[in-house]
C-alpha cells in the first residue's frame, strides 16, 4: 500500500470513530427501549467496520478474527435482548 492509501484509511478510521457519537446520543436519548437496542446494534456494526479498518492500518490479518467474534456475539446479544423485550423472558 502506498502512503496515500494509508492516509485515506486513517481518515476513514477517524470518520468511523466519530460516527459512534450520534449513535451514543440515540442510545441515551431514545424514547423507547427498542431505540436503545437499535443504537447498540448500530454501534457494534460500526465497531466491526472500525476493526476491519484497524487491520488495514496495522497490516495484520489476524485482527479480522476479532471482528468475526464481535459479529457473532453481538448477533446473539441482540436476539436475546429483543426476545426478552417482546416476551418477557430470554429462553
Amino acid at each position: 500500500m502506498s502512503e496515500f492509501a494509508q492516509i485515506v484509511i486513517q481518515i476513514a478510521l477517524i470518520i468511523m470513530v466519530a460516527l459512534l457519537l450520534p449513535c451514543a446520543y440515540r442510545l441515551f436519548a431514545g424514547p423507547s427501549v427498542a431505540d436503545r437496542l437499535l443504537a447498540v446494534d448500530t454501534i457494534t456494526t460500526l465497531l466491526i467496520g472500525i476493526i476491519v479498518l484497524l487491520a488495514l492500518v496495522q497490516k495484520s490479518e489476524f485482527v479480522v478474527d476479532v471482528a468475526l467474534a464481535l459479529a457473532a456475539f453481538s448477533f446473539i446479544a441482540t436476539l436475546a435482548v429483543a426476545r426478552y423485550l417482546s416476551e418477557g423472558r430470554m429462553f
Binding site: 500500500m1 502506498s2 492509501a5 485515506v8 484509511i9 476513514a12 470518520i15 468511523m16 460516527l19 450520534p22 449513535c23 446520543y25 440515540r26 423507547s32 427501549v33 427498542a34 431505540d35 437496542l37 437499535l38 443504537a39 446494534d41 448500530t42 456494526t45 460500526l46 466491526i48 467496520g49 476491519v52 479498518l53 487491520a55 488495514l56 497490516k59 490479518e61 479480522v64 478474527d65 471482528a67 468475526l68 459479529a71 457473532a72 448477533f75 441482540t78 436476539l79 435482548v81 429483543a82 426476545r83 423485550l85 417482546s86 416476551e87
Partner: protein, 116 residues
Amino acid sequence: MVTEILGLIFIGLGVFFSSVGVIGLIRLPDVYSRSHASGKVAILGIFGLLAGSAFLFPGTTLKVIGLGVFLLIATPVASHAIAAAAYRSGVPLIQTKRDDLAARSIAGTASGEQQI
C-alpha cells in the same frame, strides 16, 4: 495500482453509506424507520469496507468473505427481531395507513387489544 484505487473507492463508499445510515438513525421519526437506516449501515457501509479491505490487503480476503456472509445472514434477522420486539412492546407507529399485525392480533398480550 488498479486494485488499490478500487479498494480506496470501496472504502469511501462504505464510509459514505455509514454516515448516511447514522444520520438516518438520528433524524428519522420512528423506531421502525430507524431500523431501516440501521440496516443500511450494516449492509452497504460495512460491505463497502469489507470489499475495500479485500482489495487493499489480499491476505484478509477469505476472512472478509466469511464475515460478509455471516453479516448477510445475521443482520436482517437482528433487524427483524428488533422491529418485532418494538411492535410487541407497544411502540406506536406514525403515519399508519393500515396495520396488518393489529388485525391478525398475533401481537401478544400487551398490544393485541391495544389500538394503534
